[in-house]
Amino acid sequence: MAKIVVDVMLKPEILDPQGKAVAAALPRLGFTFAKDVRQGKRFEIEVDGEPTAAQLAEVEKAAEKLLSNPVIENFTVRVEK
């Protein structure tokens, strides 16, 4: 079943202490690949059948109003099979 996925990330200019803590923990475990880590949120929204354009437009609105805080966060909306 297809689902609508909303990814919410802190804007690049906003400090992300959680991401920094993860970035600091990685090398302690021997993982040395990370130059930087940013942590975000992912919402998986199920609808009946294939998501329609109208539903996606509604999700956009909900993402702006509730799922993200536009003052500090950006979001993307997509359909995942």
């Binding site: 400090l15 202490p17 959680q18 805080n69 500090i72």
Partner: protein, 222 residues
């Protein structure tokens, strides 16, 4: 003078806020998150705690609770409104004040007595202080770092809308040591530290916090 104190699911400091109101000489009225009626109050306090378990973002769910609709309307009409800690986060989520509160820069939950300076005594909640007065009240938060863009920060500084600043080392990463701000009109104030826990020396580190509550009673008499 009736001052409403809102209880959301997960609010912790409503009792202390109501006690502070009574101590200052006002009548405290309990307001329930699910009741869209302000019961004739003259001002409202959004107290601290972890409303809705801080789910999604601190204050994000509370901001859409039924009681918030008349509160936002009344605040836009000039009613004094104070948001303390979690209440400050609700004010930011409701866009009654600019900016947002994010995770403390060192990630630690803070709980300590904190020195502040009062920098604006022209708001409904700070008129009983003197300009530049240093006060000591508890600070306890996990997401207390005040964030906004450069333009907003310049506006807040330029218009004198930063009402209180942390003294000494920055406790949580707030921009420009911001502990509290006000809206353009001066009736809405958001404050991260807790004046309601410092209204007498028996139960708090000082009685400095009481002046926030006497200020609003004075403002309403005018």
């Amino acid at each position: 003078m009736k001052i409403g104190v809102v209880t959301f699911p997960g609010t912790l400091d409503d009792r202390d806020a109501a006690r502070a109101v009574r101590h200052a000489g006002g009548e405290a009225v309990s307001l329930w998150h699910n009741d869209a009626d302000l019961h004739g109050v003259d001002a409202v306090i959004l107290p601290g705690g972890f409303s809705y378990g801080d789910y999604l973002r601190c204050g994000a769910i509370s901001r859409f609770s039924p009681v918030m609709e008349p509160i936002i309307d009344a605040a836009n009409g000039g009613m004094p409104l104070l948001g303390i800690c979690n209440g400050f986060q609700v004010l930011a989520e409701a866009h009654l004040i600019p900016g947002a509160l994010t995770r403390n820069h060192e990630l630690h939950f803070l709980c300590r007595d904190q020195k502040l300076t009062i920098e604006n005594t022209n708001t409904a909640w700070t008129s009983s202080f003197t300009q530049g007065q240093e006060i000591l009240i508890p600070l306890k938060n996990g997401e207390g770092a005040y964030m906004c863009d450069d333009e907003t920060l310049a506006m807040l500084e330029g218009e004198g809308r930063i009402i209180a600043r942390y003294v000494g080392e920055n406790p949580n990463g707030s921009r420009n040591l911001i502990a509290g701000i006000t809206n353009e009109r001066g009736n809405v104030v958001g404050l991260m530290p807790h004046p309601e826990h410092a209204i007498d020396s028996l139960t708090g580190p000082s009685a400095d916090g009481l002046a926030f509550f006497t200020s609003v009673l004075k403002a309403m008499v005018k």
